[in-house]
Amino acid sequence: MLRTAAAALAIAGILGAVLWQGTSGLRAFTTEGLRRLSVMEQPRPLPNVRLIDMQGRELTLPDELGRAMVVEFIYTTCPTICVSLGESFAKLQDQIWMDGLADRIRLISISFDLARDGPEALSDYAQARGADGRLWIAVRPENDEALRALLTTFGVTVIPDGAGGFVHNAALHVVDRQGRLIAIFDIGEEPQVLAALRRQQ
């Protein structure tokens, strides 16, 4: 029985450690949870990629340095979660104007549907949601490579839903003035997003 007890303890110890590792110390049980946790603990610098905005102009993320940002990933024909994200952004936009911080913050909607979302689609999308370009802009990465770099850094997974659309993890990503992703929040957590932005000023 002694050997069995020793074996059981050893197994529990080793596999317990594996489990501990695999859940970041019982703090992150989902990939999404892990992403949020790791961003908090270690801000991630954004890649220097070329984007095209709704007026067809080119820009890069470092162009926006000096401003804190909130980033969302969307595709313009999304009938579901992107709509909620858009509402969330609209709320943020209103509050930021009221706080008088509009010139020090950027709201960016990044489309990952390169096949369909050209400047025109983006412009329609922006208009429908009240993104007039002063505070809130809609963009798409220049090419697949740029897109992949962005998705990897942000930890966003996009999979086709089999009906012409996509399934993707939706969140509000806060980027600090040095261009580092520092926090990720859920739809509905706008107050926390605003608090994080104010801390940046």
Binding site: A8, F29, T30, E32, V167
Partner: protein, 211 residues
Amino acid sequence: MKKSGATAGFQAAAGAGVIVALMLPFSRGRLEATLVGHVLVQMPLLVLAGWLLGSALAEKLERVMEQWNRFGVAGFTFAIFVMLFWMVPRSVDTAIAHTGYEIFKFAGLPCAGAALALSFPRTIPLLAGALKAHFVSMLAVLAWLYTAAPVRLCNSYLASDQKMLGAGTALFACAFAIYWALGPLFGLPKPQPTIASGAAAAREAPGGARI
């Protein structure tokens, strides 16, 4: 309870066959395309394959098990931790993204199955029953977790998949509950010992009535 070599050989072949079949790119792709396929088909099949391999090896490992796995305690510990690990949604996601995790899955789950096969026959009914009851409860809890989750738990899968996984897990829970209830309820009556001889038998049987 001697098993003929042929049975053991057949079990080993079947177990290995199942694992190989699951490793083929075709079946891997198919099964891992949906949560239900991944979690409720592929993973249980891996455990089952391990169970077959474990049963085949039971006689060879008899001496080792007698020393290191009394009452199946070590084996159960192993199987519980491995299964706990694969109940975490993040592990499921990562298995798709990282080959290392995928290999760990294809190795770990069969080992867990083998551990179960090597442990159940040597344990006492009390421990076996408690484990089964907790397993059914845990499945019910998991079914609820997947159904009630306010967000997608796995980034690689659709939300509708998650609901299906919840429903499927609930079915699994019911199926196991019924399957395990049938034995005690209607199982073939064993030869009925008188009280006195029953007591003696209980004392003799390894892992019988005594702890």
